[in-house]
Symmetry: D2
Subunit: 350 residues, 4 copies
């Protein structure tokens, strides 16, 4: 079987394993206070044009999201999210376990929150009847970029969100679990300095973008960054051998490898999407990143499932279902060619 179901089913880019091996016997301080983490922090600050930002390395996505929210929000405050947002749907209530309600808003198939939606929610909160203290106070906006459905915000959309956050005193947080695929997608005008300028915090995802594991969290708001390491430790996110994280981000970022491998995954996903469109498969949600979403009949999927694993995304009332086709930094081009061919062959039948 060849897996196109997700972007975390292989190990890591070989350069990372080499870094780990070559430094294995060195003795360094623990908990992220080693020279490799420090170098990686410096590099990230440079790439983000954010010389004062806090940079922290955590192991996983649910962990980093919950840690940021716990540090950012007081006990009566919640976070606005798309109803399809990862923190709302697929983190087993980690924000709520920390005491924070997710204020979910409906979105279209792209899974993008709009500034107008956030504005309306805040206006409703403060309009006076009932008094606001009977409701959870909105204090942060969570978006993912790319979204859960692979879509990208434009710079203008992010700026509008930033403006509305400013108007109501909200933090803006971007979950960048797949940020590499977003930053290298054709036509995007969002880059690291823009994120650092517009967000109070955002992540550069490693796990899905070439690392064994690890998310880099950039906290540009010093109010949130103060005492941040307490939250990392309390939340179980302070890796004893923290250098493992610094080393990986160094390997990925020091010469642009992160962007190279993600750009290639996007291109491979393009190849699959092209095949799907050629085979007249309906597109479920528009995406230009490494995740693509198409609708298959049961019979079509039965044929593909003989050799490939795709990810069931949403069963449809008519018996068909939306599936995710996912490439990654480690996807073999030959595998893509094979799948593309078999998708095209689907089109041959009525």
């Amino acid at each position: 079987m060849i897996f196109f179901d997700c972007d975390y089913n292989q190990g890591a880019h070989p350069k990372i394993l080499e870094h780990l091996a070559s430094t294995n016997w060195e003795q360094t301080p623990g908990y992220g206070c080693d020279p490799y983490c420090e170098q990686a922090r410096t590099l990230i600050r440079e790439l983000c044009h954010a010389p004062e930002a806090g940079v922290h390395f955590l192991v996983g996505g649910t962990q980093v999201n919950a840690t940021f929210l716990n540090a950012a929000l007081r006990g009566h405050q919640g976070v606005v999210s798309a109803a399809t947002g990862h923190i709302h749907c697929h983190e087993t209530g980690a924000p709520e376990a920390g005491g924070h309600k997710v204020l979910a808003l409906p979105t279209g198939p792209e899974g993008k929150l709009s500034a107008a939606q956030v504005d309306a929610l805040c206006a409703a909160h403060y309009q006076g009847s009932p008094p606001p203290e009977h409701m959870v106070q909105p204090k942060a906006v969570y978006i993912s970029h790319p979204t859960e459905n692979g879509a990208l915000y434009t710079l203008a959309e992010l700026e509008a969100l930033r403006a509305v956050c400013g108007r109501w005193g909200l933090y803006l947080y971007v979950d960048g679990a797949r940020l590499g695929y977003g930053l290298t997608a054709p036509g995007t005008d969002v880059d690291l300095p823009a994120l650092a300028r517009l967000c109070d915090g955002f992540t550069i995802g490693g796990t899905k973008c070439g690392a064994l594991f690890g998310e880099a969290l950039i906290v540009t708001n010093p109010e949130i960054d103060r005492d941040f390491r307490y939250y990392i430790k309390q939340g179980g996110g302070m890796l004893a051998k923290g250098r493992l994280l610094g080393l990986q981000f160094l390997a990925l970022l020091e010469d642009g490898l992160y962007f190279t491998i993600c750009r290639q995954a996007n291109a491979l996903a393009d190849r699959l999407a092209e095949a799907c469109r050629t085979a007249w498969l309906p597109e479920y949600a528009p995406s230009v990143t490494n995740q693509r979403f198409f609708i298959f009949t049961e019979e079509q999927m039965a044929r593909l499932s003989e050799q490939y694993v795709l990810s069931l995304w949403e069963p449809l009332p008519d018996g068909r279902a939306a599936y995710r086709l996912c490439t990654s930094w480690g996807t073999a081009p030959e595998a893509v060619e094979a799948l593309a061919g078999d998708i095209l062959a689907l089109g041959d039948r009525p």
Copy 2:
């Protein structure tokens, strides 16, 4: 000004004040372990035909809801609620502060959850992709009776909810903050023994139904009732002079006063609704209890607001707004007549 905005703007039925005064100098043990609480417990168990049920007295509604949920749910479990449910909208995230996500479902204007909705949510949770442990496990259903919008479940609807709860291993909890108005509404087939038979826990609201304050919580599921007093104490709900609660419920329930005064409030609300309908005011949400919801133009409300306070419920896009007209155990019939007259007068203008 005459207030029709809510059912908690006056003190208590005089009988309650008399009970407090006549027992004032007695010395009794604290924390609900006094003879009056014990008598009230016995009486409630009799009225509910639930001789084994746990009966607890707490001060307020948010408190009793949060305490029940904290006792019933483990940390990875959430509670299904209508999107208009009080715990979802107007308790400042109290369930989430206890670590529990509210799994909100949309409803019609009545604000009622259906068994089919709960069934579908549970089926989706356990269907396998993603694996259930990535999501909050549904473990309880919260409904209010009457609902936030004054509607009532039928016995058949409650039995269907109970059945679906049984199928998926969920608890059924009924917030009865206005239960007195629900149990005495014309045509209802729900009574206390039915609630005790079908629910794992439910409340008999005092605050809005004639008491100074206080909610009686009946816990019929011994698994939840075990160690329940720890949760009351931890949640700040264990009144030192607990007898104040027992005395009030005795006063209300020992001779049916609770039902008498609530039935009368429903009748007064009928009178208001009749006036509204006669004046061709559109009904926003159907109700047969003490809360009625009608739509007024700005000009109409300006006229009424000279003498009456109603509760803004929902601004409508066309400039009109839905308002709540609320009677209570303490509403003066003359005040109702006055308001009814002035509503009828609204109809005179085009």
Copy 3:
């Protein structure tokens, strides 16, 4: 039986019942936004010489302590307390349920924390090995005045605590569940303006000092007071008929009744302590307030227990036990005379 076991076994001072009765049919806004609460707030600000302070009324002691701590502390911060402190021992982990560790320090029999202890704890936290983020950050000091054992801080001791709190950036919070007895004890130099000047928050206890229930919370630190009502609501402490609290504090404070009745309770406790000392009973913990602690043999207690209920405080290894003798605003002088006589009679036997 005559009860000397606690100060919350009777109703309320009659003046309070009168206030409730005379205002019963008035219609007022809910949730503490009524004129009576507003008058009580103004009066308390005057008595405290704290015109800017936030004043909030909550129902009970565990509730008010937890609410203050939740509003004051971020998630990685804890509260320093005597190991005998109420929040550490007898609130079923309410601070921890809100996510906050109690950093407990041992004390002598008086149950008083010293400035030096707090200073040493903070110095240890920040000394560097292990780094502070591996430990809970001390951010508040909790004391009770009188302490659990009836002892009082001097003004100089409070000023020293305030100074050490300032040095390390800690809040100072005083649990005044029995404040009335403390402020009227002979020889004390602590008064309401001193508390308002030195503390970030403190309570004026009603439940144990003449009210049916209720604690007034004075928050002098605007950083903590911001959004405070959200915490009250979320914690279940926002009484729908909030005026019940305002009315009670008005009744107690508007003409000094609070101080009169507490001073008398102290005097009655003096009478009991005098009897104990005359009967050569050893004093367990020194107190000049309404709680006194003496050591009785099993045989002595057996004799007293025929007519009186005292509170077992601490079993001693030799079979004797420390008991609390507690008077209150409602204690009958004749009951005190009777008990004093019977205590004196204990001394007649070897």
Copy 4:
């Protein structure tokens, strides 16, 4: 500088890096559902003689402790621990962040809890005055083996703890962050099957015993194991590429490597302890594992600090301080010889 300050300052045993490299391009399911995790689970169950036990792999120690406690305890329950226990001192209040109080008990220099202590604490909880519900209910016992101070429980001591846990309905949990060093210490009669038989849960530490990172958690109590993966996910402990954990434990356990490398570290620590004793350095806490604790004067430490890093454990009032000397799976024997020689040289001076 040569580091003897901790056992997590190097990478991993080379065999682990080889495993990671050789499997790097394989595609496997995520979240610990891969064949390597499954093999490691089977192997651990065999080694523990616990064919039914749940086996879970988490990244770090604070995370695994908090996750177990969150799954095991209801909201009103706490965990008994030595006052020196890691969860009480050095996890930034992670148990409290999950709502659970640590009920800390004082211990001697070994840091071991006794069955008698736990028994007394439970007896006090249930003795009736005040009623138990005013206090946190003890529901679990946390011990570390070896303890924070390197000491080991005997099998008899564990059995006594198990018995007292049974008597009061408590769970027994063993934090085995350094379990390898404990199981291979000379003279111990505790082995994996004994732990599996006596505990409700325990960990086999990887991070400090040869792995890059990772703790294996064995849950023998099915009541706790039910739904356990929800807690792992919610707590941020579900590694996307879960096989990284399975692979490491396979590498360590499949041929006894875990025990070999830990036994050697103990022997190297023996060599250091022998040198310390020969140099007449006072022993601070007795240990037969990889951590040893000796007291040094300032002048002695100044000399050693020129070449070695040791871990300050406890400053003493007289200016001296206790230090930890720590070996690990990766300690070079030559480094130990060098340090031992320099320690012996300390003894030459008066």
